[in-house]
Subunit: 400 residues, 2 copies
């Protein structure tokens, strides 16, 4: 046991719509633990430790903490920073100086590597530090866990965006029949795949989903779009920002030309795909790039994601005071008809440099959509169905 | 009086998140009018009349109509089509053939011109047709009305998007301090202006709002961004897609180069502005282009907008059966502390080819933001405050 000592918590990497739930979970649980003295927050993650820039979270009001659960982005500020060995030494120096023996870090792959290195350094230095990682990433690509907090809310936003924009496209008829939505996820297509949850019937958007996990040729894209247009009269595609062609070359590519400012012009992935469709089918696709809205849209929080993120924070503190260290809270989905999660601990060394991509059984044979198995996996995570929409029955008036 | 005859209703131009409320308002009111026999919907607007492609709206269930009020985009399908004189003749032929004497059309500027021409043609032909326009446009640029249905919901979405993405940017610190959001509105900056409703305090996003109504030089953009960074540590700008430089040249401009497919590469407005900032300040801005989500995001319907759109549909039918024609339902804001609207009729010839841009008193002196007068104008339209967010008080821990 570390005995009565201070706890520090930080947020790292890209924010999410529910990451503050994990922060509040940590604070709420820490307040119940007699072995925890100060509850400190690091400003801008690990940078806040190096700069000794801590805030006293015990002084925050209960009302503020409740509101934070609705508030997107990282309330403590976040950071993207690759540390050097010297930095890890400095971190442990600061922990010693401030009597910090509990270190909770909410983050994704890179952050889990940081957490792992901190735990190793503390061990080498013989300093008793309880280091626990709390998972967070809309990319859903952490190993050793069923899914990651942040993903369910981003998936709910993406499904909602595709559905809303899909209804828009359908109503345009021949005046704008092709819509592309660019979805985050450079190496892992989990979020693009979740666009499928927009679909209530066969003709609904999205008609095509392209993931980085499957190479896709220009010819197939053109063929797929033509087929959707022939079948449904319109075509909505969810396109991961990371898709690559049959040679593994990214569609989002430098064009080799410079603009008026002397900068190289890069064609975004969605612009590249739009050009391909336009030049082959003479249809100018419309597109949406919701970008950072995907990870920050508070109004589309998943209720499941929100609760799990909160609980992960509490579990992190429980593990730390129970003498665990060098581990991450992970989610195990229990067998059974109902969706139930058990919270586990996994060793950080198995997580730090791994990346979980969408497995083959979740991608359809044509490589342009996902399977029912993926739908079964993803549906519980978005926290209940999207709001119901209506559709006219369209009884024709007899022609005279 | 036209006597007992059929009514036809259609939707035209870009859809909105509440346009189906106007459709349902028309149907509900028409069902109460003894002078109305059939209630027909035209599929894809005026194209549905020319093709005699009508649906029988009396056969839709009450439940479907209720759900439609939550459903974005044009349930009947929409159209963008400039008619010729022959077409107007053909339209009146179809009205005669189907005994249609009530013509309700939900649309924006171009659609109101169509409605006006139809009313003129019917008059020339001596056919008693009651033609009423129901306003609809997220651009909010129709003349002779305080505002337009569709705008309030789009403004609510934009305010929410800027706030969510702004919290995200603030939390990134120096790792991504500049964010640009591209907002719809080619000639009128009403929607970009409404980003101001994201702001709860001085340091909140948006720090800059650029509208098409004010020329803005590259130098000013750079100066403005630098000032915001110096003052707040981050900078979020809402940029209308239609902004022009000091010579009136659009920022969204053809680059004069062709890509691999032989197509001219166009720099989007937001990409152009990003390049300017990057080349001057060596900061690569991040950006969001929510595009069609702005007009279709059902979850961000404004309750006020929704009710007004519905009511405008009802008022349209009331006017038509009261023998009005060649007019549009307009909104008059009544004087007084509380927001109250009176529904009026305005002649279409004053609306058909006019465009209402943001007036000077709503734009700040520097041309990079809006005034309190604009806030007072826009706030009631978005239907109550955005959901409350929390902020940490950030009591510092004493340095040791």
């Amino acid at each position: 046991m570390a005995g009565k000592a201070n706890l520090v918590v930080g947020q790292s990497g890209g924010p999410t719509a529910v990451i503050n739930n994990s922060l509040v979970g940590v604070i709420h649980q820490a307040m119940q633990e007699s072995s925890i003295a100060g509850i400190y927050g690091m400003r801008h993650g690990i940078a806040g430790v190096l700069n000794e820039d801590f805030v006293d979270l015990r002084q925050e009001s209960a009302g503020t903490l409740e509101l934070l659960r609705d508030t997107p982005a990282s309330a403590l500020g976040t950071v993207r920073r690759k540390l050097k060995t010297d930095d890890y030494d400095k971190l442990v120096d600061v922990f010693v100086k401030y009597d910090i023996r509990y270190f909770l870090y909410i983050g994704g792959n890179d952050s889990m590597d940081t957490v792992y290195q901190v735990s190793q350094m503390a061990k080498r230095r013989g300093f008793e530090l309880h280091v626990i990682g709390i998972p967070k990433t809309i990319d859903n690509d952490l190993a050793q866990t069923d899914h990651c907090p942040g993903f369910g809310s981003a998936a709910r936003f993406v499904a909602s965006a595709v559905r809303n924009s899909g209804f828009d496209t359908r109503s345009m008829g021949p005046d704008g029949p092709v819509k592309l939505l660019e979805i985050m996820g450079r190496n892992a297509g989990w979020l693009a795949a979740s666009a499928v949850l927009a679909k209530e019937c066969e003709s609904d958007a999205p008609h095509l989903i392209y993931l980085p996990e499957r190479r896709i040729s220009q010819e197939q894209i053109v063929q797929d779009v033509r087929h959707a247009l022939d079948t449904y009269g319109f075509c909505v595609a969810a396109v991961s920002e990371g898709i690559v062609d049959e040679d593994g070359e990214p569609y989002a590519a430098p064009s080799g030309r410079v603009d008026a400012f002397g900068h190289e012009v890069k064609l975004g992935v969605i612009e590249s795909v739009a050009e391909i469709i336009d030049s082959s089918l003479s249809i100018r696709p419309r597109f949406d790039k919701p970008s950072y809205l995907q990870r920050s849209f508070a109004e589309l929080q998943s209720s499941v994601d929100r609760e799990e993120a909160y609980r992960a924070g509490r579990e992190g503190v429980l593990a730390a005071v129970a003498d665990a260290s060098g581990q991450m809270i992970s989610f195990e989905r229990l067998p059974g008809a109902d969706y139930t999660i058990a919270y586990r601990l996994q060793d950080l060394d198995k997580i730090a440099n791994a990346e979980k991509i969408v497995p083959a059984e979740y991608i359809n044979a044509a490589g342009n959509g996902v399977t029912e198995a993926f739908v079964a996996y993803a549906r519980p995570l978005i926290g209940g169905p999207l709001m119901p929409f209506g559709r006219l029955a369209m009884h024709p008036v007899a022609r005279l």
